[in-house]
């Protein structure tokens, strides 16, 4: 199997990702939505986002957490995603230009 075409491996990745995407929805359709289950599901969005952003920013080093803090602050004060992104990119480029 050493000469597998790229598309075959891409299809393997497709099976894994669609299985995960559809699997959680399908599975939860078979579980009773009791109040605790509902509370848990409602806490998922914020929990996933926080659990992704903070460690990823820290792992990216000083530039990572400075850039993420600035973007978060911009988002918090202005509520504009686009502005937060521009501030982040500009700050990252600037910090790298001065060698951080």
């Amino acid at each position: 199997m050493s000469d597998l075409p790229n598309i075959a491996v891409i299809c393997l990745m497709l099976l894994v990702t669609y299985g995960l995407r559809a699997g959680g929805f399908w599975l939860m359709g078979r579980v009773a939505l009791t109040p605790p289950v509902r509370r848990g599901l409602e806490a998922i969005p914020g929990s996933i986002l926080i659990a992704t952003v903070l460690p990823t920013a820290l792992r990216a080093g000083p530039v990572g957490w400075i850039v993420v803090s600035a973007a978060a602050l911009t988002m918090w004060t202005t509520g504009r995603e686009f502005l937060a992104l521009i501030v982040g990119f500009a700050l990252a480029a600037g910090l790298r230009a001065i060698g951080l």
Partner: protein, 238 residues
């Protein structure tokens, strides 16, 4: 949060589709830059432009695509394939929780609309649809509209990334932060609107600890499960 949502039917309207596209607009720059970055990496691994676009379209999960590309080889063994499948599953395990969280909101929707939409579920359109339906929206067009729009964008973004990869150093321009910054901009409104912050504090603490102790991307699912578990068990009072 209403425990008995109104039984109005979940439908797809043209207005909903347009609303979905409009809601997605803030995420256009992040999707373009990150999709292009994945295109660049695929090109460097010897992918054709068609293969690059197919990967963006069929897998549609940027961080895991980048991770898998690092493991890409010309001589596939069973172990190498399992490694790719394992990495893709680990980085995307959050999809299970994301899909689960949609069930109370659109679980009654027609399967022929929901299951194809789930194929294009990414963090941004998931958050948008979740917010819309949590606030009582009943138009599935919002989910379909933002899903299809952002998916197309992601597939097309592979083209400039693939072509320009040789000339632009993403790091110089901070473009390697596209995913992290998009996630940051999604996080702030969710935290701001939340009535209870304890589950998020738990999620943050567990994720930071896990990222320090456990290699790889397990911190996402460990932190998320801790936050959701805390809300389920202790979130009832106050």
């Amino acid at each position: 949060m209403p425990h008995h949502p109104p039984p109005a039917p979940l439908i797809v309207t043209r207005t909903g589709l347009a609303h979905g596209v409009r809601l997605s607009l803030p995420f256009v720059p992040g999707f373009l830059v990150f999709g292009a970055a994945v295109g660049t990496s695929a090109g460097q691994k010897g992918f054709s432009l068609l293969e690059t676009m197919l990967m963006n379209g069929l897998v549609y999960a940027g961080a895991s695509q980048l991770m898998a590309l690092q493991l890409w080889t010309d001589h596939w063994t069973l172990t190498a394939l399992l490694a790719v499948a394992g990495v893709v599953a680990a980085v995307n395990l959050r999809f299970v929780l994301m899909g689960a969280s949609l069930q109370p909101l659109i679980g009654k929707a027609p399967k022929r609309i929901v299951y194809p939409s789930l194929f294009a579920m990414a963090d941004a359109n998931w958050i948008l649809a979740l917010r819309y339906h949590t606030e009582g929206g009943r138009d599935l067009g919002v989910l379909v509209g933002c899903s299809v729009f952002l998916w197309c964008l992601w597939v097309l973004a592979a083209i400039p990334g693939y072509l320009a990869g040789a000339f632009i150093d993403a790091k110089t321009w901070g473009l390697d932060f596209a995913m992290l910054l998009t996630f940051t901009s999604m996080t702030v409104p969710v935290v701001r609107r939340a009535r209870k912050l304890a589950p998020f504090a738990i999620a943050a603490g567990v994720a930071l600890l896990a990222s320090w102790l456990v290699p790889g991307y397990w911190f996402i699912i460990m932190g998320a499960a801790a936050g959701a578990g805390y809300a389920a068990i202790f979130g009832g009072d106050s």
